[in-house]
């Protein structure tokens, strides 16, 4: 069972308290009704599914109930970092993901 750091509670809590909510940083258009078919396809259907670093949304559903963002490595399953919803995609990841996980 993974430990996940909730950026709102500022604590590492067991995975049981969280629920995955799909890929992060997929913005809903302010004028969604006017989106082209291609734009809507990208927004609703297309997901990156990478091998390696993925940006995800998680919810601390059995805790503070907040949605937040996380960077996870799909190879090792490790959480590299977490940050609040609405914050920009981190431009730089910590060098040693082990350090982050161990803290």
């Amino acid at each position: 069972m993974l430990l996940i750091r909730c950026p709102y509670c500022e604590e590492e809590r067991p995975e049981l308290e969280f629920r995955n909510a799909g890929e992060a940083h997929i913005a809903r258009s302010a004028d969604i009704a006017g989106d082209s078919d291609d734009d809507f396809e990208k927004f609703f259907f297309i997901r990156s599914n990478p091998k390696g670093i993925i940006y995800e949304r998680w919810r601390h559903i059995h805790g503070c109930a907040r949605f937040f963002n996380a960077v996870r490595d799909t190879i090792t399953d490790k959480f590299v970092m977490t940050y609040k919803a609405g914050e920009p995609k981190p431009s730089k990841l910590p060098n040693n993901s082990n350090d982050v996980v161990a803290k």
Partner: protein
Amino acid sequence: MSGAFRIPSAGRLKQAKTARFSFDGQSYTGIEGDTLASALLANGVHLVGRSFKYHRPRGILSAGAEEPNALVEIRRDAARRTPNVRATVQELYDGLEAQSQNRWPSLSFDVGAVNDIASPMLSAGFYYKTFMWPKAAWKSLYEPRIRQAAGLGVSPDKPDPDHYSSRYAHCDVLVLGGGAAGIAAALAAADAGVRVILADEQAEFGGSLRFEAAAKIDGQDGFSWAQAAVARLSAMDNVRVLSRTTAFGYYAQNFVGLVERVSDHLKNPGHDLPRERLWQVRAKRVVLASGAIERHMVFADNDRPGIMLAGAARTFLNHHGVAVGRNVGVYTANDSAYSAAIDLKKAGVNVAAIVDLRDNPTGPVIDEARALGIEVNFGRAVIRAGGKLRVNSMTVQPKNGGGERTVPVDAILMSAGWTPSVHLFSQSRGKVAFNDETKRFVPGIYAQDCVSVGACNGTDGLSASMDEAYAAGAKAARDASAGDLGAKAGKGTKPKVDASESWSRGMLGAAPGAGPGTTVKAFVDFQNDVTAKDIRQAVHEGMRSIEHVKRFTTNGMATDQGKTSNMHGLAIAAETLGKPIPAVGLTTFRAPYTPVTFGAIISHARGPLFDPTRKTAIHPWAEAQGAVFEDVGQWKRAWYFPQAGEDMHAAVGRECVAVRTNAGLFDASTLGKIEVVGPDAAKFMELLYTNPWEKLEPGRCRYGIMLREDGFIYDDGVVGRLAPDRFHVTTTTGGAPRVMNHMEDYLQTEFPHLNVWLTSITEQWAVIAVQGPKSRDIIAPLVEDIDVSDEAMPHMSVREGRICGVPTRLFRMSFTGERGFEVNVPADYGQAVWEALWAEGQKHGATAYGTEAMHVLRAEKGYIIVGQDTDGTLTPNDAGLDWAVGKKKTDFVGIRGLTRPDLIAKGRKQLIGLKTKDPKVVLEEGAQIVEDPKQAIPMKMIGHVTSSYWSQNCGRSIALAAVAGGRDRMGDTLYVPMPDGVIEVEVTGMVFFDETGGRLNG
């Protein structure tokens, strides 16, 4: 006497404490502290089982958890029958009953052993190759036969009467393995005061000190030192010592699963004791001290009962006081088997000969064996074992060929060397590294905060192991605890090794006589009956990766996970491929290390505790009325209320008629309820529902539809606006949590600028639906300050006030098509208000109705149920609900999805009504609908029945269906082919009763 092979001068058990037990109905006597294996051996019993595939007679190979052969059934009573228990692990208790497995009619005469004779037909990959053709024979012939023959042991057929417990634990340093190294590591960490857990799978700590007779630590013999050290650890407040506890799984971030066998060793376990306890431990640092496992020699017929690992024979002698034979042979490729010969010789057992594959080994044990007068042969191999139900000879030959000599023996002790137990390290996702000099895989790159010490790290010798372990334990404590405690780590008294035994390397793969080109049965994997030849054959047939060889031969795939066989199998595959061992690779170790019972994993989560049961405030009343309940999600809902002599059909018919004639009371408390509050509440509702909300006046209600972004219906429900900034939203019973999640998601992440609070109020309000022509007459006398006249409170309105003296949110709404109210009261008052309404209802001929009548009544009116009539692929338009989509709105969740080309295309499935031509025939829900029943199979299916009932009010059956282009087919005849004939149906509108809707106000 506790067995003819017991040597009173040897071992540590107290001879006076005898225990009676039975094996296959035969009674024996053992001693407390015996394992079933040692007690059987004390009585001269070696034959304990039949092998999986060839049904070959098998004995006891080991003295521990790695045992592949000696699997038995332990029986306490009819329900407590545990198959596949390792006799080497099961502790003896007085009255223990054990049975052998996988044999018929008896262990010594087993019909299945014909497989052994037919073995040329049962070679590697046999199942894959033989049963491929013809396909039809698989189901009728092969599969039942294989299933009958496959598997060791028989599952118990009664529910498990035992209970299991589960605990979470946290610690600074978790030490896995309680041999000399593990104890040393625990001491170093514990003396610093950090929180330590030390676990070992055996009943007593000490690991290999159980048999290493020469070891001396701190002036005591090794085993006594271990007991004293663990007693000291147990007495410390910061240390938890767990014996009989196996670390079976190493998961992410130092999360380790342990299972503690609490009562399997007790004669009469009290019912207050769990059988097993699951420990889920989160440790800051883990010290792996899991030791090493001895390998057998791979030679012809090396599986005969009486042939065992040398270290196991030492354990039986030095710990249990049991000689495994009277005239033993030894076959080895390293030093440690010499110690077994020496110990047995000193205990008075004849050692016929030591056969050592090595050419000219030297060392103290070899000198000592010679000094004791044991015959020692270098450069020779045992090429064959004689005997069937018990070994009776070994045939010796120079390893490069030459004259054979057959030596009579009643046991063969073998050792090909020791394999470091890297299972847990590998499970932690660490990468092993191959040491070419020692031919061992040892921990290489670590993936987690753990460290390996002692034999599992490839460290040889007691002294080096304990030094390494003590230092690692101290470091783990320092790393885990930065403060004062950590600084004290390792400052206690380090154990001092006074004497130890010598260690040397061994060999991997097949021994001479079982090499390439031979066809002998030289077993690599005893439990799955895999021979050296099978592995070579797999390579010859094209398997290149060890993962393929493993699956093709099933080497290492039995419940012992190849603890003794993996390295031999790998070496033989590598040799056959002509590649070095690391190039072929080691298979991945997976949890569990040893089999774990389902009981331990599920613990109390079974029966009524498997899933929470939710009951409404009115549940006790319904129960007292004799209601039949149905499960709706986690809820228990009253399904119908049968009166004397009524079946379900009669009860539901009566309830439906009563509601439309007089009135009915229905417990609707399970409806999901969410309060949407705040200055931007209406804006938020506009975005989450298709309907317009800004102009809905306070005190009015509206039926709302919620979509997903793809445009499909996600949920629905009636929403009341209580105030400009307050909506009382209802959802489907099953949809409440996901609708709440959906709303929170949008509020927090897409529309965070909106000032809105969401609160789940499902359990705060009990809901009593009062429906029918007399509904107003029933509630009017009880309502205190609300005018319930049609003028003051028309259909689809909501009022706040009081009923029976308690607060209410009173909705005028209907899911029956009749004049109706839904009385919301705080849940604590739910039953009292229900009883008051019920008493009032009795004056007006009201009935209580359940969910079945509710379903029928709403279907008579064509009201859909999301999740029954819709399936996640229907739009509001498909469901005939286009009127509920605000046409002038510029945004709501799903607005763009609704205009996708496929969602506006012609010929989509639409909800319509169906009437069977024969009104008495009730369609089956889910039945498929076709245009032409005479077409060839597979027919073109154009839709399916979503709801279907007998309607007593209509005097006929009614149904709803999703049919392609359904609304253009009004009046058409369609067909529903069923196994016993085709049913003719007519397409109709969805409303079957009171089409004009007059009764809503009637």
